[in-house]
Symmetry: C2
Subunit: 219 residues, 2 copies
């Protein structure tokens, strides 16, 4: 196996590996294992690769996320890739800026790039599924019942009465609103679809901090 | 009370407040409450302020963090401010680049700026204490015993045998290593000082994702 470009730069700059060193490797969509460096210079790395383990299991979670602004989306995608979220639905809401939907950060290549950085961090090889839903009402009315079927549907809401449950041993669907929150109409639609509003304390967190916090409580 | 500059821009661009609207406000180091907008234009906002509640309580936690690279440090400081960590010790380790210690991100004004952004997010007013310790060994030998006294001392370590405990109802000291982890010598020093190595699963997370995850498990 040969590495060039970004991955070679990472091995040179971060691992500072030399011949004989062993690195964690994985095959896109497949197994993970180890690679023993057989040759390395500024332009190419060669490794003898043994792939013998499955990647870490995914969480039993669908994340429904109000589309964040592009810079935040990139960081959230890396964190989602690393945390093992298998499926993310990026949803429009009243407080999502319309311009976010035309951002280059939503191009398939850009989504994939950020997700792969997250997967590499966590030694995972399986890309999460990312679904774009730029219309709130038809999504909630027509698709949401099938999404939440067989799961515990929760919506993060700072003023909810219930704390986010801990260590649930079942599948969940988690909805996280935009900065500023879901509006009352959106909360009503989610609650009447079966979602339980839950909170994580007095402190209102940014979406980047709230997502790992909620996931760490739930699983 | 009058706002100009960054805070006025935030009210105009994010809250889009107009006369009569009510905003959450707080006084640095003091109470939080509400501000009713009495006048607003492009250059200044005037509010009638009522401060009548304490800020949210801090966590009973000291975080010992291997100094991250400057860009990551800024984001981590915001998250620390928002999560309610009252005290952070930025520590040197073998895998911390020496150049990070001369970054402008460590200037008191820069630390403060990022912490305040985090506090504002969470409606807190009390700045965390940030301590810089550019020498690992003297810190661990001379200061660490007093730091951990009366707390549960934990060190995050991906290959630890014990999972990170959940919902502890006591004070903790949490050590988080650099990207690449503490070296064996450093782990030995921490363990012989009384730290328990704990892990948060198969997935190795970036420091930005690991910190909220660990805190959400512990508290």
């Amino acid at each position: 196996m040969r590495l060039r470009g970004r991955r070679l730069d990472h091995v040179l700059g971060v691992h500072r590996a030399s011949v004989g060193d062993t690195l964690c490797v994985g095959s896109a969509g497949g197994l993970i294992g180890t690679g023993r460096v057989s040759a390395i210079d500024r332009s190419v790395l060669e490794m003898d690769v043994m792939l013998d383990q499955p990647p870490p299991p995914k969480l039993p979670l669908t994340l429904i996320l109000a589309l964040p602004r592009p810079k935040v989306l990139k960081r959230v995608l890396r964190s989602i890739g690393a945390l093992g979220v298998p499926r993310v639905i990026l949803l429009n809401c009243f407080r999502v800026e319309k311009s976010y939907w035309s951002s280059p950060a939503l191009h398939p290549g850009s989504l994939r790039e950020q997700l792969i950085l997250g997967l590499e961090q966590a030694r995972d090889t399986v890309l999460p599924e990312i679904v774009l839903r730029p219309l709130f009402k038809p999504f909630v009315e027509d698709e949401l019942p099938a999404v939440i079927k067989g799961t515990l549907p929760l919506v993060a809401h700072p003023i909810a009465a219930s704390p986010c449950p801990r260590e649930i041993v079942r599948a969940a669907t988690l909805a996280v609103g935009p900065e500023g929150g879901f509006i009352a109409y959106e909360m009503d639609k989610l609650v009447s679809s079966g979602f339980l509003p839950v909170q994580i304390g007095d402190r209102i967190l940014s979406v980047e901090t709230a997502i790992p916090t909620l996931i760490a409580r739930l699983f």
